[in-house]
């Protein structure tokens, strides 16, 4: 069957593409596809990469911690699911060398350990280690530097663990899963799993932690999790992934993800706005063509088919181009980032492709729906009565369809209905606000231009006449500028925030187990050696026994000390501290800090939420044999990102009554002074050192390439924003081309006209910029306080940047477009108008 409509629409499309008439529409669709594809591929790959990297902290993707050995069938099942499995058994034990003894953290590891991350070892204590691929052989032990301080050890010498004697073959300098729990760590002794039994230390009732490490494809892991989790005994077994760690890395990661998601959502919305503006224009420019076709015998279904096919073809073309471009952009960005990473990013799944394609079609078709419906209603009589532009269709239809599409896009992209609805509602509110303010401003500017020169007067008169359209234009200008400022400001905020948390001199060592009598000596040593250190905090283990007199569940059974995670209490011992002043980077969000002499406890906010307590509740603690009850006098927010000792509970000194304590501090020692460690701490034999340099480096590298990612997102948002501006300026001016040409033929010189247009856009742009800055401040305040848990701030520079940027960009675009229009169209239009 012949399809004349297809031939016509194909022909129209071909010519229009060649002549650049569809550029804005095609570009807008293309950009939205490019943005969605590259953003989602990139963030998916980056996230997978970061997760992989973070998995090194667990030495695996998932870890099952258990108090008893697990059914070997569970491990078999894991292997059947295609997962790698390794074991790590840890316990504290006295170890002996030359008849001296010290407490050590014994780790027996099986083949394949670590599944993620690397071991580093050296051939002498307290030096930088090298990556080591092998594990200690049977009869060998690798010992952490710290133990060399406490025992007369030597490489090649022996160490006794339980009933077995091991030869020390290497110094262990780094284990991926050393963990952040700096309080309880004793130096590690790493032995082979096969020698574990020979130590004779694994006996019923001994406090041993069995850790089963799993790694593999996410889908396999998920399948295994589904199978395993229901079978776990929640009291003695705990399933861990990177995400639930209270680590500085995971919070940096989470924030970065939120930012990426948010910024790219804004980018997608911007690109969608560009499509919406362009689609409107696309239909308007076809009014005549529809009227002509109908006059020449085209029925409405036929003409509808022509333009629907036209739009579909255009979309298809733009989506294809967008996909290709998006892939390239993403590859280029990854390539750039790659050189900064020491590991390669995993490939992305197919879903970004679907998402991008869907976005392209949704944007193009849904935003064009209303204009297209209107286009189809253009009566043939328009050929004689040029002002006819279709009977009015209900506008609300347009708003509902467009709004629904934006919401749908947000939801598709973020997969979070709550976030989408919240952002959407916020956006709606901002829109109404912007529209209102815009109209006010335009009205108020009436007088301003009256005394001015002729171009200004013309500009002002123009603005007055078009107050209604102008406030809509202003809205899209302001939206674009606002989103741009928002992303820029947020980016700066986030980067500054990270930078300030991890300055060059962020503490890279913790010293723990400092005896009370050595506190002064240690402070003196820090001062004498010019080492920047935090205060020494006293710590003592203690348990929460009761809340307002009600016993918490774990207080009754001593069995579940280690692994139980009972909801109503902590399920474990806490490290308690006391002091007179609020530690730095802690913020009181409820109550107040202790008055001198007061008895009380200050509790960390998330913990307070978890155990469901509030200000004034009485908490009963046990330290050693003492039990005491204190009221909660303040709730603190703690910045876990900082490398300083952080605490859930801080008592007033009066509450604790001189409990026996050891002390902890963190300090910064430059790389090049690392070799001094041994001598610096020689006088503090029982103190142990924990090196967190690697963790810091890791966080820095995460932040480093997240910054890159953010910059890339910003670049896309800027592109999308510019496209909105171009589309809007073009649409605005083309709508007015008749008026421009009439003025022109009435004798207005073209430079006067383009200057008038430039001035008009200068005012519009500046107003839009000002409104945008205002809206940006409000939104950023909400985001900082509600989403990113950051300190709110005012961005004075942006109050200058916003209006200037708006005025500059919009005016230049307006002036250029106007000049081009006047040059190209006058001749043709004059013929049409006379």
């Amino acid at each position: 069957m012949r399809k004349p409509w297809l031939a016509i629409s194909w022909r129209l499309l071909r010519h229009e593409l060649r002549r650049g008439e569809l550029t804005v529409m095609a570009l807008a669709v293309m950009l939205s596809v490019t943005a969605v594809l590259s953003l989602s591929i990139f963030s998916e790959r980056l996230q997978a990469g970061l997760l992989e990297r973070s998995a090194e902290f667990l030495a695996a993707d998932r870890v099952l911690r258990s108090r008893e050995e697990i059914d070997s069938e569970w491990l078999l099942k894991a292997e059947q699911e295609g997962l790698e499995v390794a074991q790590r058994v840890t316990f504290n034990s006295m170890v002996f060398a030359n008849n001296e003894l010290a407490l050590a953290d014994v780790k027996a590891v099986s083949e394949l350990y670590p599944l993620r991350g690397e071991l580093k070892t050296a051939l002498e204590p307290f030096v930088e280690g090298e990556v080591t691929q092998v594990l200690p052989q049977r009869g060998e032990a690798w010992v952490h530097s710290g133990l060399f301080q406490q025992l007369p050890l030597a490489l090649g010498g022996v160490i006794e663990v339980g009933e077995k004697t091991f030869t020390i073959t290497r110094v262990l300098t780094q284990e991926p899963d050393a963990g952040f729990n700096v309080f309880t760590d004793s130096p590690t002794v790493l032995i082979p799993y096969q020698d574990l039994a020979a130590t004779g230390l694994i006996q019923p009732g001994s406090r041993v932690s069995f850790n089963y490490l799993f790694a593999g494809e996410p889908s396999n892991l998920e399948r295994y999790e589904e199978w395993l989790l229901p079978q776990l005994d929640t009291l003695t077994q705990r399933w861990r992934s990177v995400r639930d760690e209270e680590s500085p890395l995971s919070s940096a990661l989470e924030r970065a993800e939120r930012f990426m998601l948010l910024a790219s959502l804004l980018g997608v919305v911007l690109a969608a706005t560009a499509v919406a503006v362009a689609a409107q224009r696309y239909c308007q420019r076809n009014y005549d063509a529809v009227a002509i076709m109908k006059t020449l015998g085209g029925t409405r279904p036929l003409v509808s088919r022509v333009f629907t096919a036209h739009l579909l073809l255009l979309t298809l073309f733009s989506v294809a181009a967008g996909l290709a471009l998006g892939f390239v952009v993403q590859a280029v960005v990854v390539w750039c980032v790659q050189s900064q990473l020491e590991y390669s990013l995993p490939a992305a799944s197919a879903s970004p492709w679907w998402l991008a394609t869907l976005t392209g079609f949704l944007c193009a078709l849904m935003f064009s729906l209303y204009p297209l419906l209107r286009l189809m209603r253009i009566p043939p009589l328009r050929v004689l009565r040029r002002e006819l532009d279709g009977s009015e269709l209900a506008r609300w239809l347009h708003w509902i369809v467009s709004g629904g599409t934006v919401l749908l896009l947000m939801w598709l992209y973020s997969r979070s209905l709550i976030l989408s609805v919240a952002l959407f509602a916020g956006g709606l509110l901002a829109t109404v606000l912007l529209l209102g303010i815009g109209r006010l401003f335009i009205r108020a500017s009436r007088q301003a231009g009256m005394q001015a020169g002729s171009s200004w007067r013309l500009a002002m008169a123009g603005m007055q006449r078009r107050a209604r359209q102008n406030s809509v234009q202003m809205l899209s200008f302001a939206t674009a500028i606002m989103l741009f400022l928002l992303v820029l400001a947020l980016r700066n905020e986030l980067l500054d925030d990270w930078q300030s948390q991890l300055p060059e001199t962020a503490p890279n060592y913790f010293v723990v187990n400092v005896a009370e009598r050595q506190v002064d000596d240690m402070n003196a040593m820090f001062a004498a050696e010019n080492i920047v250190a935090t205060d020494l905090y006293p710590i003592t283990p203690g348990r929460l026994m009761a809340i307002n007199g009600d016993l918490v569940r774990d207080a009754v059974s001593k069995e579940e000390r280690d692994d139980s995670n009972v909801r109503d209490g902590f399920g474990r011992e806490l490290q308690l501290t006391w002091r007179n002043d609020l530690p730095p980077d802690n913020d009181i969000i409820a109550g107040r800090w202790f008055e001198p002499g007061e008895q009380g406890v200050s509790i960390e906010s998330e913990v307070a939420e978890r155990i469901n307590v509030k200000l004034g509740d009485a908490l009963t603690f046990r330290i050693g044999a003492d039990e005491f009850t204190v009221p909660i006098t303040s709730i603190r927010e703690v910045n876990w990102n900082t490398m300083q000792p952080n605490f859930f509970m801080i008592f007033s000194p009066e509450a604790v009554n001189n409990a026996a304590a050891t002390y902890i501090a963190s300090f910064y020692l430059p790389q090049e002074r690392k070799h001094e460690l041994y001598t610096l701490f020689r006088d503090f034999p029982q103190a142990s050192l924990i090196d967190v340099d690697d963790i810091i480096q890791q966080i820095r590298s995460v932040i480093g390439h997240v910054s890159l990612a953010i910059t890339f997102v910003m670049f896309l948002v800027v592109l999308a924003g510019s496209l909105v501006l171009v589309a809007q300026v073009q649409a605005t001016l083309e709508e007015r081309e008749q008026e421009l040409v009439i003025l022109r033929t009435l004798g207005a010189r073209s430079h006067l006209l383009s200057r008038a247009v430039t001035y008009e856009f200068l005012i519009l742009g500046a107003l839009a910029g000002l409104i945008a800055t205002l809206a940006m401040e409000i939104i950023i305040f909400l985001l900082q306080t509600q989403v990113f848990s950051m300190e709110p701030s005012v961005h004075w520079r942006f109050w200058l940047l916003g209006p200037l940027l708006g005025a500059g960009v919009v005016a230049v675009l307006g002036g250029l477009t106007c000049r081009r229009l006047l040059r190209q169209r006058t001749a043709t239009l004059i013929r049409n108008l006379v």
């Binding site: 012949r2 004349p4 031939a7 016509i8 022909r11 129209l12 010519h15 229009e16 002549r19 008439e21 005549d288 063509a289 009227a291 002509i292 076709m293 109908k294 006059t295 020449l296 015998g297 085209g298 029925t299 409405r300 279904p301 036929l302 009566p379 043939p380 009589l381 050929v383 004689l384 009565r385 040029r386 043709t828 013929r831 049409n832 006379v834």
Partner: protein, 225 residues
């Protein structure tokens, strides 16, 4: 037997300023192959009458028939098909589709009507209007006179029985206008088409068989040539 017949048609529109009567009561019969000029002052309702006669719009009262078919009994789609079948148009502002070439603009009505291979015919027509070497030019690459010639070629491609022209030379200078007129009448003669032309150019009107004048919404049969 008249090809077009207007039976006491009236046209009024409702505007914000109230009801506006554009055409009072008009009766008109036009014979096949007749050439008729509609003249009158600007704003007198010439274009409105043309639109009613061509079925682009419907009268408020009375009816128009073409080939004895009452247009008021047809819906919009049927009228479109009838226009495609029997009627050609030429407009003051040419109304070519800007993104199609001259050749494609001429082919358009035939394609909309589902004619097979209209290209040969379109080429011949463009040849006849003297644009054989401008086939692939876009409207904005052509002068006003050339654009109107494309429009004329487009009007004739469906071998219409009736041709409506609304001030076909209104946008052209005198010399160009004259060539267009000649071309129009020449093709009209050759195809034996009925021509209904709105103009305020008396000289052009004189070339027609019959002139009708609209004054304050009423039709006056003017002098016969």
């Amino acid at each position: 037997m008249a090809i077009i017949q207007a039976h006491s048609i009236k046209k009024h529109v409702v505007t914000s300023a109230g009801r506006l009567d554009i055409l009072a009561e008009i009766n008109l019969a036009i014979e096949p192959a007749e050439t008729v000029a509609i003249v009158g002052a600007s704003g007198s309702g010439k274009s409105t009458l043309l639109a009613l006669l061509a079925g682009l719009d419907l009268p408020s009262e009375g009816h128009v028939s073409i080939d004895n078919v009452n247009l008021s009994n047809l819906d919009e789609e049927e009228r479109a098909i009838l226009r495609g079948d029997k009627i050609g148009f030429i407009f003051q502002s040419f109304l070519l589709i800007q993104s199609l070439t001259a050749l494609e603009n001429v082919m358009l009505p035939a394609e909309l009507a589902g004619t097979e291979n209209p290209e040969q015919q379109a080429r011949e027509l463009l040849e006849q209007v003297g644009l054989g070497d401008r086939l692939t030019h876009y409207p904005n690459q052509l002068s006003g006179g050339e654009q109107q010639r494309v429009a004329i070629a487009r009007a004739f491609i469906g071998k219409p029985a009736i041709l409506f022209a609304d001030e076909p030379t209104g946008n052209l200078d005198r010399a160009t206008g004259a060539t267009i007129e000649d071309l129009l009448f020449e093709l009209n003669q050759k195809h034996g088409t009925t021509l209904i032309m709105v103009t305020h150019d008396d000289r052009l009107a004189q070339k027609c068989d019959r002139i009708v004048r609209i004054e304050s919404g009423c039709l006056q049969e003017a002098e016969y040539a």
